[in-house]
Every structure is written in structure tokens, then in C-alpha cells.
């Protein structure tokens, strides 16, 4: 089972990218399951994805990277045994620390799974967040440090110069990491899958 964890800040576009990726996989005839880790009593992203016809399991009101590490492994094994999906897409909450999430995945041995971490970086907010290295900016650095693939979202609302500057900042931290700019197009899911295949082939 290929498992993809999409890390990113609140509002970075994780749910939209997961929806597009799941649809692209569905169009290829692949079975997909989604794990949503939301905070709060009323889940929003999980029901939204379900309304789009996708199978979703929620881990609510806790953080899978730090509060309840056993939840993730348990849920992954449960989904695998019940549905046998070929792909599992995981949306951590916006407060999940990428390094702790990666450690949780590595520590909680899940036989038969192959994990990739995909970092969603919001091009609109990148500059403001990156400048705040004593606050939220340090999480951006961790996202880049632990990512197998970087998706630069919302590039349709920044200039080419701004995008180039962001990409230079990212490669300054991880020169080898693949960066895929994502504007609002119908091909987002296919772009993500193509990039994942390229990363897997490396």
C-alpha cells in the first residue's frame, strides 16, 4: 500500500490537493482511502471529502504526530484489513510537526506500507511565514527538511518573480528536493501523481 502524508499549514490547500489526487487515482482504477486528522468536535474536511464520493476515516480531536501515536498505526492497519486500498492519503492537522509525524511513521512499523511525505507550501503566505523563523517559520523549514516532494500551492496568485524567489529559498534548504508548482487547474491530481512516480523512481 502506497501511503502519502500531505503536510502543510492550516489553509495551505491540503484537502483540495488530496481530493484532486484521489480523483486522479480513481480515474486510473486505483482503490484509495483517506485518513483525516481534524481538530474539534465538528469535522469539516472529512465530511467534505465524503460528499465528493470518497472513503474517509477520521481521527478527530487529537494530533497524530504527538498526542496519540498509536492511532495512526492502528488506523492504517484497520483500513488495510477492511478495504485493501492500493493508496492511502493522509491529511495531518495543520498543527502536526513534520519531523514528529515522520518519526511516528518510522517508529510505528507498518508492514506492507511505503510512505512518502509531501509538503504543501502556500506561495501566498510563504514570505511572511518564512520571515518568522522564531514562530511559524521554523515549521516551514521542517516541512522542507522532511519532504520527499514539495508542492508549491496557489502559484496562480503570485508573480513569476515571487515564485522563483520561493523556489530558491526551498532549494537553499534542500537542493535535491523536487518542487512542483500548483496553480488552480484541472490537472492538479495528475501533476501530483506524475511527481510521486518520478520521486519513487529515484
Amino acid at each position: 500500500m502506497r501511503c502519502i502524508a500531505f503536510t502543510g499549514f492550516l489553509g495551505s490547500g491540503k484537502t483540495s490537493v488530496i481530493l484532486a489526487t484521489a480523483r486522479a487515482l480513481g480515474a486510473r482504477g486505483q482503490r484509495v482511502a483517506i485518513i483525516e486528522n481534524e481538530r474539534g468536535a465538528i469535522g469539516v474536511d472529512g465530511p467534505y471529502l465524503e460528499a465528493q464520493g470518497l472513503g474517509v476515516r477520521e481521527i478527530s480531536d487529537t494530533c497524530i504526530c504527538c498526542d496519540l501515536q498509536s492511532s495512526l498505526g492502528h488506523t492504517v492497519r484497520l483500513i488495510d484489513s477492511l478495504y485493501h486500498p492500493e493508496w492511502l492519503l493522509l491529511e495531518p492537522s495543520g498543527v502536526a510537526h513534520p519531523d514528529e509525524l515522520a518519526n511516528t511513521i518510522e517508529d510505528d512499523a507498518m508492514p506492507g506500507t511505503e510512505w512518502r511525505l509531501v509538503a504543501l507550501l502556500d506561495a501566498v503566505r510563504f514570505g511572511r511565514l518564512w520571515a518568522d523563523q522564531s514562530g511559524l517559520g521554523y515549521l516551514l523549514r521542517w516541512q522542507i527538511e522532511r519532504a520527499d516532494l514539495v508542492l508549491l500551492t496557489k502559484t496562480d496568485v503570485v508573480t513569476a518573480e515571487q515564485q522563483a524567489l520561493i523556489e530558491a529559498t526551498i532549494t537553499g534548504v534542500r537542493p535535491e528536493v523536487k518542487i512542483v508548482p500548483l496553480a488552480r487547474t484541472a490537472q492538479v491530481g495528475e501533476l501530483v501523481l506524475a511527481a510521486l512516480e518520478e520521486v519513487a523512481a529515484c
Binding site: 499549514f9 492550516l10 489553509g11 495551505s12 483540495s16 481538530r39 474539534g40 468536535a41 465538528i42 469539516v44 467534505y48 460528499a51 465528493q52 504527538c66 492537522s93 495543520g94 498543527v95 510537526h97 502556500d122 501566498v124 503566505r125 511572511r128 511565514l129 511559524l136 515549521l139 496557489k154
Partner: protein, 117 residues
């Protein structure tokens, strides 16, 4: 550890007379702008996600903002004239408490419902 306060509210709206999709979209954008301004009184440079989902006959569409002074970004399009809609308002904001976020959402819910009554 990184913290974020979150809150969600669900509201059923009945439009009498039925409203054009553009009017409903404007109502949602006005609400999100009001929430933004209120958030700025607590956290002038807030970062997070505030979104308002509208479910019309099983079709889910939402508008959202992710930082102070943000423009509303839409996922999906409201296409029909609406007589009824189910709305879900959700916000999760870094470095605020659940109570603070809930207070902001609740402050403008009456305005949202009165706008269509």
C-alpha cells in the same frame, strides 16, 4: 508544541424569496471579511484557515481566507438559485484558543442569518 484554536458552527438558512447564487456568494464573502476584521482585533497578523461551506442539494462549495486581509478564495461554484442551504462555518487559527475563535464566529452568526430573513 504548535497550538491552534478551532471552532465550527452549522446553520440552516431559508431564503424567501430564493436568492441568486451571486447574492449568496456575496453574503458569504461579507461574513468572512467580518470574521477577518474581528480576528485582527485579537491577532493583527493571524494565520490559519477560516472557511464557510455551503451544501446545496449535496453539492459542497466553500469560500475561505487564510490570513489577515486575505481575499476570499473559492473552491467550487454556486450555480443555482437557492431557497435553502446548509452552512458550516469553520475556523482554526494559530496561537488562539478555542474560546477566542468560537467567540469570533458567534459574533457574526446573527448577522449572517438576519441577512437572509
Amino acid at each position: 508544541m504548535l497550538k491552534a484554536g478551532s471552532a465550527a458552527r452549522r446553520v440552516s438558512l431559508h431564503f424567501d424569496p430564493p436568492q441568486a447564487s451571486s447574492q449568496v456568494a456575496r453574503m458569504i464573502e461579507d461574513y468572512l471579511h467580518a470574521v477577518d476584521l474581528r480576528l485582527q482585533t485579537i491577532a493583527p497578523a493571524w494565520v490559519g484557515h477560516c472557511k464557510l461551506l455551503i451544501d446545496v442539494a449535496g453539492e459542497a462549495v466553500y469560500g475561505s481566507i487564510t490570513t489577515a486581509d486575505d481575499d476570499v478564495r473559492w473552491t467550487g461554484t454556486i450555480t443555482s438559485i437557492l431557497a435553502h442551504a446548509e452552512l458550516t462555518v469553520y475556523a482554526a487559527i494559530y496561537n488562539l484558543s478555542d474560546e477566542q475563535v468560537a467567540g469570533v464566529l458567534d459574533a457574526y452568526l446573527p448577522q449572517l442569518t438576519q441577512a437572509v430573513s
